[in-house]
C-alpha cells in the first residue's frame, strides 16, 4: 500500500507570537520552527499503516527550503521518501491543496493521511479541499483508523459525540489528536533519514499557480484581558459574582 502524508513547518506552538509594528506579519526573528503537531499524528498513522499492510510512505511538504528539516523528521520517524515543493510565499490552504493534488496525481497513493489543522494558520481546510479537487471521499477529525479490503473505517470526533464512516480508497483521512501516540525519531532512524531520497520540486514543475484566493491585509494582537483579583474565600467569590460582575 502506498501512503501519502504531509508535514507543514510551523512556529513552535509554545512560542510567544509577536506582531510586526507595521502589521504585515509576525516577528520571525528568534522564533523556533517545528513540524505541525497534527502532522505528527498523520505521519504516525501513515507509518503504522505501512507496518500493518506493507508498502511505502511518501511525505510531502510545501514551503521554504528549511522545510526539509520537517521532512527529515518524518523520514527519521519511518517515512520512506520525501518531496519538498519549494515555495516561500504565504500560501492559503487552497494553494497548498492544489499543489498537493498534483503530487497525488503523480504518486497515486492508496490513502492520504494528513493533519486536520495547521496550528499556525488554524484553518482546517487542506484535506477537505484536496479531497474535493481529487473527487475522492474524506474522513476528517479521525480518532481511529482501520484499513481492510480497499476501504478505511474511520472514527471521527464530531460535535455532539463521535461518528463512524467508511470511505473507499483512495481517500483522505485527517488526523485528530487522539488518533495515536506519535513516535519519536530514534537515533538510528535519524541516521537512516539522511540517506533517504528527498526530491525538490517547484509549484511550476507541477503546473500550479500558487496565487492565494484569500489575502491577509493586516495582522493584529487581540485585546489582552485585564488582570483580575485573587479572592481568599468562596464567600468573597460569590459576593463578587453577585454584586460586582452581576453574573449570578
Amino acid at each position: 500500500m502506498k501512503i501519502l502524508t504531509t508535514v507543514k513547518r510551523v512556529t513552535d506552538p509554545d512560542a510567544k507570537i509577536k506582531i510586526k509594528p507595521d502589521q504585515t506579519g509576525i516577528v520571525t526573528d528568534g522564533v523556533e520552527y517545528r513540524m505541525n503537531s497534527f502532522d505528527e499524528y498523520g505521519v504516525e498513522a501513515a507509518i503504522a499503516l505501512k507496518e500493518t499492510h506493507g508498502g511505502e510512505v511518501v511525505v510531502v511538504s510545501v514551503g521554504p527550503s528549511e522545510a526539509t528539516k520537517e521532512i527529515r523528521t518524518a523520514l527519521a520517524m519511518g517515512a520512506d521518501r520525501g518531496i519538498l515543493v519549494e515555495d516561500a510565499g504565504e500560501l492559503d490552504s487552497d494553494a497548498v491543496a492544489r499543489v498537493l493534488a498534483e503530487v497525488v496525481r503523480r504518486e497515486n497513493p492508496d490513502i492520504i493521511v494528513i493533519g486536520k489543522q495547521a496550528v499556525d494558520s488554524d484553518r482546517n481546510q487542506t484535506g477537505q479541499l484536496l479531497a474535493s479537487y481529487l473527487d475522492i471521499p474524506q474522513a476528517t477529525f479521525a480518532y481511529s483508523l482501520e484499513v481492510a479490503d480497499g476501504w478505511a473505517t474511520v472514527g471521527r470526533e464530531v460535535d455532539g459525540g463521535t461518528s463512524t464512516k467508511r470511505v473507499k480508497l483512495p481517500a483522505i483521512v485527517t488526523a485528530d489528536l487522539r488518533l495515536n501516540e506519535p513516535r519519536y525519531a530514534s537515533l538510528p532512524g535519524i541516521m537512516k533519514a539522511k540517506r533517504k531520497p528527498l526530491e525538490t520540486l517547484s509549484p511550476a514543475d507541477l503546473g500550479v499557480d500558487t496565487a492565494s484566493k484569500v489575502r491577509v491585509l493586516k495582522y493584529e494582537a487581540p485585546e489582552e484581558r485585564a488582570a483580575g483579583e485573587i479572592v481568599d474565600s468562596v464567600d468573597v467569590l460569590i459576593d463578587r459574582l453577585r454584586n460586582k460582575s452581576k453574573v449570578i
Partner: protein
Amino acid sequence: MANVLVVAEHLDGKLRKVTLPTITFAQQAAALTGGQIYVLVLGSNVDAVAEEASRYGVAKVLYANSPVFENYLAETYAPAIVKAAKEVGATIVCSPASTTGKDVLPRVAAKLDAGMVSDAISVSNDGGLRYRRPLWAGNVLTTVEVTTPVHAITVRTSDFDLPEETAAAPVESFDAGVGADDSVQFVSFDQVKSERPELTDANVVVAGGRGLKSGDNFKMIMDLADTLNGAVGATRAAVDSGYAPNDWQIGQTGKVVAPSLYFAVAISGAIQHLAGMKGSKTIVAINTNPEAPIFQVADYGLVGDAFQLVPELTEKLKQIV
C-alpha cells in the same frame, strides 16, 4: 445578485442553535452586499426545521428531504450546497464553524472556486468585504480579503448574537439532484446525550482539567454546572485521560465558548485551552498552584484545592440561586 446562502444544521428534528448566530453573520454580510439571505436545510424529514429557520429575518428557506441526506456525509451534502449556491446566486456561502461546517465547506469551496475563510469573527466593508479571523491559537487576529467572486465562510458563532425573530419567510422544496455515493458509507453517530444546555450556547460553563484526577471527580463539576443551569466542559488533557467525552473539549481544537460566566477548575491555562474560552465575560479560576497561567486571564481566582472549594461553592450557591 450578491446573495448569501446559510447552510443550516439540525439535530433530533430541531435547528441546531449554532445556525442562529450564523444567520446574524449573514444579515451583516447581506447588509453590505445588498443581497438576500437564503437558508438551506438538508435531511430526510426536515419540514419542521425549515419552518423554524424561516423565522429569523431571511428571504427564503430551501429544504431537501431525501434518504440520501438522512445521515450527514460531506460527499453528498457538498454537491447539494454547490447546486443551491449557484441557483440562488450566492456570492457568500456560510456555515457555523462546527465540525460539520469545517468538514463540508472546503469541499464546497473547491467546487465553487471560492476562497475560504475559517472562523470569521466579523465582516465589514472597506473597499471590498473584509473578514477578521483568529489564528495562532487566538494569539493573532488577521483581516483578510477574498479575491474570488464567491466567498466560503465558516462563522465563529460565539462572536455573533442571536438574530431577532420575525414573521416566517417562504419555505420551498429544493431538488438537490444528488444520488447516493457508493464510495462512502455512514456507519453510526454515537451521541453524548445530555439534559444540559449545549456548550456553545450556555450562559454558564463549568470546565474541569486533569487536576481532577478521575472521571468520577467530574461529578462535582457537573453538580456546580447543574446548580447554575450551565454546561460542562473539559481540557484536552482531561479528555485524553478519559475523564470526559471529546464533545466537551474546549480550545484551539475543540469548541469555542464565550459564556457570561466560565469556571476553570484544576486547569493550568495552556494557550490552546485559552483559545477556546478567552472571550468569556467573567472567568473564575480554581487551582492549587498560584502560578498557574489561568490566573492571568481570570477575573477572580481562588487558590486552593478544588475537592474542597467546588463542593463548598455549589452548596452555598444552592442557597441563593
